[in-house]
Subunit: 361 residues, 2 copies
DNA sequence: TTGTAGGCGTTATCAA
DNA sequence: TTGATAACGCCTACAA
């Protein structure tokens, strides 16, 4: 069995409280070096380490942050988590992950698990699951429990949601967030294609309801409008951010004579890459493709993917900093409720000028 | 503040113990439906959920498994984790992750965190960190603490390590493991290249000391020997399983006139893909490449990568099953200490017959 | 400087 | 069928 503070007390000949003070280096109390040495020796010999469960139970602090991400196997999230982890560590927090595989039920599960296990704060990137009840349940749980939390990447609170915990509709003021300016990203991607002469630009969007998708679509529409190109909803194929839906979208969009496709993330763009061979087409000669995220593979794939870079590391750092401020009770006035980052367009080989004969279409 | 069992007791008019019994559905005690209803109503109204910290403190069970993985951004581990997570869920366990970024100090950190927070079991895939002291410290901590644990993928215990906890050298019998038959994988990869006529086959290995690398190298040597090709250590470039080292290895190996490269994982193979353009060479015409892991991208990259497939999902499932058996005290005789899976060669477009003029070399 | 005692939120034992 | 009460391992006033 593992040594407890009692064992250390017994072995060293001092009382439990003295041991506790020494072990935790309590400031303000002066304990003779000799006592300290004796106690620490006992600690070493017994291999004593405080039971965090017990400590948290009484201190109500765990020095642990919970991170909920929707899809571990999307490199974008993996890289985002890295930023979070490094920042958390730097501030002395441990990080525990929950991966929901985009199931909204698991969002709820993990929030529960984290709260019940006393994390100090939660970083929440919601799943793409479509059940609105689950979404409401999540934020209600979060709000009601009183844990500090930040939403990341996929923002919550821009849709009309009634919160029981609040007893009113949720506003964007209730929920802090760190994310990219997705509208701008969508705009830049589309604008780039328009500049290359494309006019029939298809989209493989993400699930409707996710800000990452809705906002990018908004940016797409803005760019079209600016260029005087009418918006055609038939050119939007709703994907799910996984490669398969990129592949599915391809024949649909080709059937609508698009000359370029804006995939709302790189994974789906890869799905298009994989599928495009079956149509005997080549990127970018026959079809331009723009992705989103700029994950590692986008650079090495052939042709290298034109895409929008997200400053993942910085974003990860920011959520943690903001969250920890929140935890430490920094006055809300000094906190930025919504932090937005700028996407940058990485032009690579997957986009090219539209071909002359296609321009006529 | 969050509602406690006391609040429920007060509100419902019953005692704490009765509430506890009802909430936990204690078998064996018969409590009138009317009592149950009243209590459950109070539970609902107060939104009561037991504090898991307190529960774990007394039950010594947390229903949580800790998973330590070395590199979140390597899709292979992401997919492996998925299998683990699904299996854990199926058995009613929650899973918390720790990502070490291949820093051996963090292995230690996470093991501590997990133990101190009372996980029921740990699945440990060690980092590639090279400090042997850390490695020893890890297993000593694990062994000494008495938590159930399994090593996964990267096996521990095949090297000579002295354990203080055990008071003797560690043998492979002390540590359970689930992994691929890496020797066989190395053999199959090399054999495939030999069958294509290659005789100067370079390797980009993983860090020496990791079984995944050492074993694959062994397989490589076996295949060479079988074919009567002398083993040339100069053809082995020690990588770190990250893409960059694939890129670094390329000029080194090309300088040694290899006609094929066996990269010990797909990530490094991608590094080679990225770099190969700078040498005006093409895969597979000028250079055959074999990877290892068969992650998603290997199929869509051009040319598609010949690689060794690991049954990640099954492996994830197995570790969990085995670990939970361990936790439940299944007699050790009924447990398989070391479970090995078979790799399968996926032949794709990155390997081809060696060119005639090169065969002479 | 050190020890005693109370409490954190539960479960479990044993009476009533 | 229910309710005290003693743990669990630790921290923290408050006393000594």
């Amino acid at each position: 069995m593992r040594a407890t503070i009692k064992d250390v007390a017994k072995k060293s000949g001092f009382s439990i409280s003295t041991v506790s003070m020494v072990v935790n280096n309590k400031p303000g109390v002066s304990i003779p070096q000799r006592t300290r040495d004796k106690i620490m020796e006992a600690v070493r010999e017994l291999g004593y380490r405080p039971n965090r469960l017990a400590v948290s139970l009484v201190t109500k602090k765990s020095n642990t942050l919970g991170l909920i991400i929707p899809d571990n196997s999307n490199v974008f999230f993996a890289e985002l988590s890295k930023g979070v982890e490094v920042a958390a560590r730097k501030l002395g927090y441990n990080l525990i992950y929950g991966n929901t595989n985009n199931k909204s039920k698991r969002d709820l599960d993990y929030i529960r698990v984290f709260i019940d296990r006393g994390v100090d704060g939660i970083i929440f990137t919601r799943s793409a699951g479509t059940d609105p009840d689950d979404e409401r349940a999540c934020i209600d749980l979060l709000l009601q429990s009183g844990v500090c939390f930040m939403t990341m990447d996929r923002v919550i609170g821009n849709r009309a949601i009634y919160s029981e915990a609040l007893g009113r509709m949720i506003s964007s003021e209730d929920i802090f967030s760190v994310a990219l300016d997705h509208v701008k990203g969508g705009y830049l991607a589309t604008r780039h294609l328009i500049d290359l002469g494309h006019r029939r630009i298809g989209c493989v969007s993400g699930p409707a309801g996710l800000t990452t998708s809705d906002d990018r679509l908004l940016g797409y529409q803005q760019a079209l409008e600016e260029a005087g190109i009418p918006y055609d909803p038939a050119l939007i194929f709703e994907g799910d951010y996984e490669p398969g839906s990129g592949a599915t979208a391809l024949p649909y969009l080709l059937g609508r004579n698009v000359t370029a496709i804006f995939a709302f993330n790189d994974m789906m763009a890869f799905g298009i890459y994989r599928e495009v061979h079956n149509f005997n087409l080549s990127i970018p000669d026959d079809l331009s493709v723009v992705g989103f995220d700029d994950i590692f593979f986008s650079e090495i794939i052939q042709p290298p993917l034109t895409t929008l870079r997200q400053p993942v590391f910085e974003m990860g750092t920011q959520v943690v900093n903001e969250l920890v401020d929140l935890i430490n009770g920094v006055p809300q006035g000094e906190l930025q409720r919504h932090i937005r980052f700028e996407p940058t367009l990485q032009v690579r080989g997957s986009t090219a000028k539209v071909r002359k004969e296609e321009e006529r279409i």
